[in-house]
Point group: C2
Amino acid sequence: MSHSYEHPRPALAVDCVVFGLDENGLQVLLVERGVAPFKGRTALPGGFVRLDETLEEAARRELEEETGLGAKVFLEQLYTFGDLHRDPRERVVSVAYYALVKLSDHRVRAATDASAAAWFRLGDKPQLPFDHEQILRVAKARLQAKVRYQPLGFELLPPRFTLAQLQSLYEAVLEKPVDKRNFRKKILSMELLEETGEREEGVSHRAARLYRFDRKRYVALEKAGVNFEL
Amino acid sequence: MSHSYEHPRPALAVDCVVFGLDENGLQVLLVERGVAPFKGRTALPGGFVRLDETLEEAARRELEEETGLGAKVFLEQLYTFGDLHRDPRERVVSVAYYALVKLSDHRVRAATDASAAAWFRLGDKPQLPFDHEQILRVAKARLQAKVRYQPLGFELLPPRFTLAQLQSLYEAVLEKPVDKRNFRKKILSMELLEETGEREEGVSHRAARLYRFDRKRYVALEKAGVNFEL
DNA sequence: CTCGGATAGTGTGAAAAGTACACTAACCAT
DNA sequence: ATGGTTAGTGTACTTTTCACACTATCCGAG
């Protein structure tokens, strides 16, 4: 089947930068390409936009198809890349999205999935084709900038977490150490965290309290114009 | 002439939100549409992306064609809008850009240009077609957010300006008053302004000093990681 | 059962930044 | 010379940021 238009059109794609976090720091989810160009190479998950779906729907569909990630992950538009030769074959404009997922939920799936998705540490990944290196750089910069004034971090953690986990998240993303006492004061003063009353289990030292992110309160405070700068 | 592709493709357009400033506050540059849909309606300048130009080139070309704005204006990508029915005729995805121009330079051109471009105050403009109201809202929010931590304001002023002009610019963009002494202290402490040694002329009161934005110094300081939060 | 190892959890003082605020200086026009 | 108009300047108070070290709790090993 063929489709004709009066004027030539670039192809329109979406690409996704999926960030996850574990003990080793910030990771990114990459897939092995199943089609040309760059078939067999490791690249960002993505694909062409269909006519009956929005850009975000296209991004979520591709994520589901290529990595098994569900529809609820945090996903935000990043930037649109339109250099003439970013795809060697033909003109392709790509709307990039970035996603944040709780790596713990998706470690197994990605590891066993037939679609050959895998997590890579940022400093330890293969060279990416197209302009995916650039997209990844922009995504990392955006994440670092945004995490300072929006509580994005919670998207990367399990539903209940300790303050130490939250702190090392910030340290991993920002790539610099944070003072424990000042961090706790600051983050608790925002009143976005709710104590669950529970504690860590199975650790061979004093068990830390488990907190939960209070999303409703966040929405309310944000509407009221409160600042969440770290 | 007709162009065929194996899979259907959305059309790809760019739209531009051009901000300018005068005594009446923040203004936006709009054009009268010469083609359907919405022929004759006032809308954001924009048009379709060609295969041999990048997205930014397309935005600058459309600006030149429809408003006479030159190639040097400050222009930055805003967001990409891809709702299914944002264009009533067919699927069109639009990459929006926003521009900042010195209104003084372009007041005459826009007023006399055959292409029927005109400046409108934000609170006093016709209803815009497509999703251009949404695009404008996003652009305004971005400008307000960005002006706080990047010295964008200078793009809206003539090359030499007084501190009072700069202050009213911030007041116009942020839509709230700023303390004169604190503003001057803060902005001068950034060391981005250079005294020209000249003064205002033709005013019937004490003449203010004229300053110039030191772009080189800005680039240097920015690289060094300095913060320019207002 | 106690002792060592590991992480949780807590407060204070000093420095820097932000904020509110009012008068004199300079210039022009009448 | 006087009045009108905007330029230009400093200080005291409050708030925020930053650096920094010890006790509490739990587990496991001996």
